[in-house]
Every structure is written in C-alpha cells, then in structure tokens.
C-alpha cells in the first residue's frame, strides 16, 4: 500500500485545507446515551435536578463526548477525501483534546476538520505505516470555541503485525 508514493503526495497536498463544516444539534438523549455507553454514573451528565444545582446550571456532556460530535459526517467526508488514497487496516493512534467550554443539551456545534499532517514510518512490529493527523475545531451557536481536537489515524499493512 504505502509504496504508493503518489497517493501520499496527493494526501499531503490536502494538508491545511478546511473540509466542509459539519453542524450538529446536541440533544439531551445523545449525552445520556454517551454516558451510558462509557458506563460513567456521574450525575452531571444525566441527572437534571443535580446538574441544575451544580455550578454549570444544567447537564453537561462528559469531556470526551466532543470527539464524537459529527463523527458520522466525518466518516463520510473521510471516505471521500482520504480512504481512496490509502489501503490496509486502519487504527486509531491517539487524540489530543483541548477544552474551552462544556457542551450542553441544545447547543448547535459546528465542526471544521482539516488534515494537519501526513507521515510515513517504519514500525517495529507492524511494518510500514502511514500516520494522518486530523485537526478539528468545535464552535457553538454563539461562535465560542468549545474544543480543539487532534486525532491520529494509522494505516498498517495487513499481515505485517504478527511476524
């Protein structure tokens, strides 16, 4: 796969270009489902009465919720922009999140994604790999910055990892 230098060059040419913004309306049920999926009983995420008396004044989302906002749309954009250029298996390499404001039910969040970096690396166990870093910016309905996120996706050669 990664022998295909032309594709890597094409991917590099997309660095720094903003993708089409994705707009998401945050519903209370999304936050509750998220809290239940991670099995986190913190009442700030689900108990409206408790949350109202907290310093936030309402339910807020667990901090890692933000990285899932617009994920399905991200996947669609990703399938168009990135997936055709790379083959092999894909893994999540890591994430860096910076928080500025909590997410609340009723928020309208706009996500803008761009490719920030493309690197090739020779892995110890997994052979030649491609690391693509995505940078996402999240703003709310009043254009306040909510969070920034850098995610690294790794492509690996199938069959190389169990040598």
């Amino acid at each position: 796969m990664v022998e295909d230098t032309l594709n890597i060059e094409e991917l590099r040419s997309k660095i720094g270009i903003d993708w089409e913004p994705v707009v998401c309306n945050i519903e209370k049920g999304m936050i509750q489902r998220f809290a239940q999926a991670i099995d986190d009983p913190n009442p700030l995420w689900q108990d409206e009465e408790y949350a109202r008396r907290s310093r936030y004044g309402s339910i807020i989302a667990p901090p890692t919720f933000i990285q899932t906002v617009g994920w399905d749309q991200f996947e669609k954009q990703f399938q168009l922009q990135v997936a055709p250029l790379l083959s092999g298996g894909r893994l999540n390499g890591g994430v860096e999140l910076e928080y500025y404001q909590p997410v609340r039910p009723g928020d309208t969040i706009t996500v803008i994604t761009k490719i920030a970096d493309v690197r090739e690396r020779q892995g110890k166990r997994m052979g030649k790999m491609v690391f693509v870093t995505f940078e996402k910016t999240y703003k709310n309905q009043t254009q306040e910055l909510i969070a920034k996120c850098r995610q690294i996706a790794i492509w690996y050669q199938i069959g190389a990892e169990h040598d």
Partner: protein, 143 residues
C-alpha cells in the same frame, strides 16, 4: 459524589484513585451507537480477523473516555479539564479487566489558575500500559 478535591490536597506523585472497567461486546455496540463510530473491527470478529487483528478490539476513544472518567471523578465538580491526550500503544479486548490509573506530575499557578498536570494510563490484565495519556486540570483552592 465524592468530596471536592483542592489544589492544596495534592503534590507531585499523588495517585489518582483507579477506575476499573470491563467492557463487554455489548458495551462496544453501545459505544458504536453513541459515538457514530461503526468501524467493523469493533463488533465483527470475522472482519477484525480479516484485518489481521486477533479479534474484536475496544475502540480507542472508549478507552480514552475511561481515562476521561478517571480524571472527572478525581477532580470533582469544581475542577475543570483543560487538556486530555491519549496515545494508543496496544489493544484492549472485550472481557478483559482494565484499570485506569494516574498520578500527578506537577502543579503550578498560571494566569491566576491552579493547574495540575497528570500522567494517565490504561493497564491490561498483564500489567501492560495499552493507553498512555496526559491531562491538565484546574482545581479550586481552600484559600
């Protein structure tokens, strides 16, 4: 909820009370639905194996969210999470008992805010660190 943690309560090296998790395949499906991440390596064993993986693996973001809980449980309602990073170094599998741990690396005052930097990690049953993370939080003071 546990008692509020204050900046004065901790020193470099202070340990964060661990959070233990055992994700089932059911939980992975709940995560897929809640997050919108339908990558088949997290629920389709045949697909995962066709991708060279030993089986279905836990979403990195789910393991990262466990670290998120570790830190929000510890810092309490008056604490604020400013930064969280996770680097996925190994795979976690459904059914495994995994333990989220952390400790304080340093504390400092910046722009009038009382900041604490912590190192975080997820340990698998073999004691291997499969996720390495870092968090910066701000805490209230007793002053």
């Amino acid at each position: 909820m546990t008692e509020q943690l204050y900046y004065e309560d901790i020193v470099a090296g202070s340990e964060i009370p661990p959070v233990v998790k055992q994700a089932t395949t059911r939980q992975l499906v709940m995560w897929a639905g809640a997050s919108g991440d339908y990558h088949e390596i997290h629920y389709d064993k045949d697909f995962a194996q066709s991708r060279g993986l030993p089986g279905v693996i836990i979403h990195g973001q789910l393991a990262g969210s466990f670290l998120g809980q570790l830190i929000t449980d510890w810092m309490g309602e008056q604490g604020s999470l400013r930064k969280l990073t996770c680097s996925y170094r190994g795979m976690n599998f459904p059914g495994e008992v995994i333990t989220c741990k952390g400790k304080v690396s340093k504390k400092y005052v910046e722009d009038g805010e009382h900041c604490v930097e912590c190192s975080l990690w997820v340990e698998n049953p073999q004691g291997e660190k499969t996720v390495l993370g870092m968090a910066i939080v701000t805490l209230p003071t007793r002053g």
